[in-house]
Amino acid sequence: MRIEHGWQPSEIERLVDIDKATASRLIFTDENLFRLELQRIFMRTWLYIGHESEIPNKGDYVTRKMGNDPVILVRDQAGRVRVLLNTCTHRATLVCRADAGNARGFTCPYHGWVFGSDGALVATAEDETYGGKVNFRNLDLRQARVGSYAGLVFATWNHDAPPLDEHLGDARWYLDIMFGHTPRGMTVLGLPHRWTPTNNWKLGPLNFAADGPHAVKVHGPIVDATLAGGNGARAMIHQALLQSPSVSAGPYNGIWTQGPQEMPEWMGHPPEMVALYEKTLNPAQVALFRRCIASVGTVFPNFSWVYGPVSFDMQADPITNFFAIRVWQPVAVNRTEIWNWFLVEEEAGEELKTRAMRAGVRTFTAGGTFDQDDSEAWHSIQRGSEGEMSSTVDVSFQVALNYRDRPIADWEGPGVAYPSNYCEVTEFNNLVQWRAFMTGAR
């Protein structure tokens, strides 16, 4: 309301041209659109906040972001998970400046107001000075709606949003495969890595929604070096990507790249773990997971994951699966903060955990052999999109024109699947969701 963003809904609608399967580059570069995104997307839908395993005990907290708002994810003294706006109701000071801690509550550094771990105002600087003129309950910390699915904690400021379960809808079947394939579920391996690519926040989610062909070009060398010990893996993955399913299901879009038939099943998974998976997932889920060599997906707007097997030396380094989840935090139209966690099954032994950690940090993080090259590509997109002339050229998802009317007929999971990770349909669907929120259709 305060800022005249200068964008009419009809104009926003045209930014993503559904017929042509193209989009304007302005969605990555226009500052007013960025401000609108904060209002129309980040204030209106469910956002991923953290994993329950990050705050196992009462009083455990971690600080996070929802769009450009700082929040605290805390397990209160009653054991309930809460998401509190991290700003004092007195004069707006951050009540917590740590990344993580355990506390009975939060004491504001400015005048010492005390809030409980449930966000309730416990004491002002001097309660008597109010002379009873103020209802202190109005000065509790603001709280977001909180929902949790498969250990994943989401929150939203929008009290009109559907419940989390309904919001996730068909996506849950796929979240189950990744986050609920053992009885006790996943656990994080540490606090998140954070780094700051110099590109619009949407490039990451789009890539993870998921971009098959870039893997051959950008990651071909590291795929060759880590997936098959330096020989032929790039050609194998090229074919696998061409022939594997891409899925749109509710707010979720992603790929499930399948290794070739001659490749062993459950690569990198110890038999005792596999037994747990087969017991926990249903057969269709197992069928999708057991030969999966890359599961990459995005839940709109800014939550993604990436999973797959690697070995840095087929002789010396047993194949291990990395599994990273990440949030793409919007910082500015051309600046994003990536928050990146590594996960492993709660049931995994210490040795498997350590191997999973190493597989993760060597691949998908700021210094990871995969991510370091993606970030350069994304930066180059931002630089390539900012010019006046460049703004007149649309970005293309036109492979979708060839696939979107030909979904996989006998797909056993919910949602819609397309027969190639090169299809560009699921990536584009992610933008179609963006368009719906930005025009107010959702």
Partner: protein
């Protein structure tokens, strides 16, 4: 100085050789002579780069087993070095970035355990300019190493580094510390 502390002091000549080793290493890393750098590593190297977090005082909570930015051995460093050292196998470093490695505050002493290893502590400032981004990225770091003397110099047997940013102010870390 205690006897133990005295025993661990290394003499001036060796100290100067250690310093030269670090300056030479800085050359290799900053000029991306990755293969030559790799030759400085012991085969049992453990290479680790951690990061700081801001914890509430008194509650340095342990979440999970911990995940540094780098946790590499000889095998995985070989892959990294291969990719970074070759312009056709890296997107981030092709064209190669400009790097300058400023090594300061070098302290060296014999390791507590006998066996001729040297503990070296140093501060490192990395100055980096990428082809696609003219504004330099300046990263502070500290390194605790274990060097092993060999005929033609030293081998790095262990590196425990930590970067000085909790939120890395760059799109990637396509270099080694």
């Amino acid at each position: 100085m205690t006897t133990e502390a005295a025993r661990r002091v290394i003499d001036d000549a060796l100290y100067r050789r250690v310093c030269e080793f670090y300056y030479d290493e800085a050359d290799l890393l900053s000029q991306r002579q990755m293969g030559q750098w790799f030759a400085l590593l012991a085969e049992d190297i453990h290479y680790r780069v951690g990061f700081p977090e801001f914890y509430e005082h008194g509650t340095q909570r342990k979440v999970g087993i911990g995940n540094p930015y780098f946790d590499d051995d000889h095998t995985s460093l070989k892959v990294r070095v291969h990719l970074l050292g070759n312009p056709t196998t890296t997107t981030a470093e092709s064209p190669p970035s400009i790097y300058n490695y400023f090594v300061t505050n070098i302290r060296a002493r014999w390791a507590e355990q006998p066996g001729g290893e040297i503990e070296v502590d140093s501060r490192l400032l990395v100055y980096r300019v990428r082809a696609s981004e003219p504004v330099p990225y300046i990263l502070g770091a500290r390194r605790k190493d274990r060097l092993r003397a060999v005929d033609d110099g030293f081998r790095i047997a262990r590196r425990d580094a930590a970067i000085d940013q909790a939120i890395i102010q760059a799109p990637n870390l396509s270099f080694l510390l």
